[in-house]
């Protein structure tokens, strides 16, 4: 009879220990809100994984200056980010492409307005194995031949791409069909977003693509420039001829001066207009576009190509004026210039 009673006391002890642990945790969490700056509040960012490293760096640097502002960044993908944006769940949406008309309609239907801000360039790099000694340059037409839907199960050998290429099977690696990178590559090379052959090895993780291409002599694939510059010992970037006879290497410089076409693209953040009225959001965006932060975009830790200082100044002005809506009424365009933001 005594044992069960002792038991029940033990059970109570467990519950008490659990509760105490919770209180302790809550106490630990509470002492983190010391503020030296005048700004306070939460900023919620979500969206593209491509833009994530830039926004994360901005959030990290910004919270060093304003410890009262808590910026969190999620990775739901460009499309998933816009859904949360339209639901009013986020203040800022990261996007690796301009907003689509359907997404803009959903946001308008929810009664929100937004400010569109391009923040950097990203280059897509076509890569081959370092042991590949036959590809010095590829034209857009050759890439199209390789990746268009009609190539499925018919274009399977390097010697079908160009006379003189060896008799080796094409091992294709590419990002998954849900990624903005896949969208842009198909748009720029094949001519229509999402239009691609289906018989390639797909991965949402670019590191898997690096491993794949580095493991096969006859492999070819594509992914973001920042992953290429980190892995130049494992894969080789292929210069691209956009059709005018000159081969352009994929580098930060060629993406920045606009000569690496058609595989460089602007990436964006979208700010909800009513959120921008909050002082902490306003300060965050101004910091994001300031000369203090923008050079960090091309630092190796972030790995993207910054825009020109004049453009950032114009964008800051546009943001200060709260200019509404998108300058891409038909969605993404290939090889488009950002000069439209200068007016």
């Amino acid at each position: 009879m005594t044992a069960p009673v002792r038991m029940s006391r033990r059970r109570f002890t467990f519950a008490a220990a659990g509760l105490a642990g919770f209180v302790l945790l809550a106490a630990c969490g509470g002492d983190d809100g010391d503020t030296e700056g005048e700004l306070k509040g939460d900023i919620i960012v979500d969206g593209s994984s491509t833009v994530f490293p830039i926004t994360m760096a901005a959030a990290e640097e910004f919270s060093l200056k304003h410890s009262g502002v808590r910026v969190s960044v999620g990775v739901s993908g460009t499309g998933g980010g816009f859904k949360k944006f339209a639901a009013g769940e986020t203040d800022i949406s990261d996007a690796s492409r301009p907003i689509k008309p359907s997404e803009a309609e959903a946001i308008a239907a929810a009664g929100f307005e937004y400010i569109e801000i391009p923040v950097a360039y990203d280059g897509l790099t076509v890569v081959v194995n370092p042991e590949n000694d036959w590809v010095a340059c590829l034209t857009v037409d050759e890439l199209k031949k390789m990746w268009e839907p009609a190539a499925q199960r018919t274009i399977t050998n390097w010697n079908q791409i160009r006379d003189g290429f060896p008799d080796l099977p094409l091992d294709l690696f590419a990002p998954g069909v849900d990624s903005g990178t896949f969208d842009y590559f198909t748009e720029a090379i094949v001519g229509a977003a999402q239009s691609s052959r289906g018989d390639f090895q797909a991965s949402e993780d670019d590191n898997v693509l690096v491993t794949g291409v580095s493991g096969s002599r006859s492999a070819i694939g594509y992914f973001g420039l920042s992953y290429y510059v980190e892995n130049t010992d494992k894969v080789r970037g292929v210069p691209i001829d956009s059709g005018n006879g000159t081969c352009v290497e994929p580098t930060f410089a060629t993406v920045a001066d606009g000569s690496y076409q058609p595989l460089s693209r602007p990436i964006f953040i979208y700010v909800r207009k009513d959120a921008a009225e909050r002082p902490e959001v306003d300060a965050f965006i101004k910091y994001y576009l300031s000369p203090e932060f923008t050079p960090l975009i091309s630092s190796p830790e972030v790995g993207y190509v910054q825009l020109s200082n004049e453009l950032y100044a114009a964008l800051t002005q546009r943001f200060a004026d709260r200019v509404n809506g998108t300058l891409w009424p038909n969605g993404a365009e290939v090889g488009a210039s950002l000069d439209r933001y200068m007016q």
């Binding site: 630990c28 490293p53 760096a57 959030a59 910026v71 830790e301």
Partner: protein, 298 residues
């Protein structure tokens, strides 16, 4: 008797020949069994060794006291570790009482009718539902309808639903293992149904229930898909201050580091994996300890 031995005699040469073959089969089975054991263990050891080698130099104090950063040497796991702990506390506070009470009702009170059977079949089925489905449910019910937002609480509610079937099934097994003679003895001295459950069934079944609950917790800690669905974040440079605050958890932090371009982050991910493994092993050890310790008392 005589007939039997003569049958043996007649069969002797045949039997001898097959004996060798049977021994061979027996050995073959041992080798096969050993190989399958080794396959599992060697794979695990290789993975572990790989992770440990990769994480060397990264698992320092700073790793536990820092938030994520774009500089690998400054990045740490604080937000994810605390997020996981917070979430698990709330999850267990919800799931364990609910699960245990459900199990007691089903085992001790519910009559054997179509309704009870319907519930039982459903609980067994729920235990096999893919976790992403719970994430979608949590997103709609907790995040959107109940307006909890992408909070620790929404994550805990989702996780509680996810592990509830496991806790119920384990608790029912534990209650079923209580000998009927204990209940009968209790009734015989005039105890009510509640007193019997409270003083005899529950204490006896407790070790089994605790083991089930802790193993369920271990499962919840490793889950990523439902939390990504309900919107646990990736970069959270602060600790959750209240149950409705934003958060991240260990598996999401690890996943994010693995997918970064800079290879130093892959080493950080390995360090994160070790932290996750240690938490899991600790939990499982507690489960084993409790089972051993409490069980010997009866």
């Amino acid at each position: 008797m005589a007939e039997d031995s003569s049958a043996l005699d007649r069969g002797a040469p045949v039997f001898k020949a097959s004996m060798q073959w049977r021994r061979l089969k027996s050995h073959f089975f041992v080798v096969l069994g050993l190989l399958s054991v080794l396959l599992g263990i060697v794979t695990l050891l290789v993975l572990l060794a790989d992770v440990i080698i990769q994480s060397t130099g990264w698992l320092d104090w700073q790793f536990f006291t820092s938030f994520d950063s774009r500089f690998p040497e400054r990045a740490g796991i604080k937000a994810a570790l605390f997020g996981t702990l917070y979430m698990m506390v709330f999850t267990m506070l919800m799931a364990v009482p609910l699960g245990v009470m459900t199990a007691i009702y089903l085992e001790e009170y519910a009559g054997d009718n179509w309704f009870t059977q319907f519930i039982q079949v459903n609980i067994a089925n729920l235990a096999g539902v893919p976790s992403i489905v719970y994430g979608l449910l949590g997103l709609q019910v907790f995040v959107r309808w109940m307006e909890m937002g992408r909070s620790v609480l929404a994550g805990s509610c989702t996780m509680a639903l996810l592990i509830l079937p496991i806790i119920i099934v384990a608790s029912r097994e534990a209650i079923r293992a209580v000998p009927p003679s204990m209940r009968e003895a209790s009734f015989a001295v005039g105890a009510s149904k509640w007193e019997t459950v409270r003083h005899h069934v529950l204490p006896y079944a407790l070790p089994g229930m605790l083991t089930g609950a802790i193993l369920a917790a271990a499962r919840a800690i490793g889950e990523t898909a439902p939390l990504i669905t309900i919107g646990a974040l990736t970069f959270v440079p602060f600790l959750p201050e209240h149950p409705l605050d934003r958060f991240t958890v260990l598996p999401i932090q690890i996943f994010n580091w693995v997918s970064r371009a800079q290879s130093e982050f892959h080493d950080l991910a390995a360090a994160g994996i070790i932290v996750l493994l240690v938490v899991l092993i600790a939990l499982n050890s507690v489960a084993i300890y409790l089972r051993q310790r409490l069980r010997t008392r009866y």
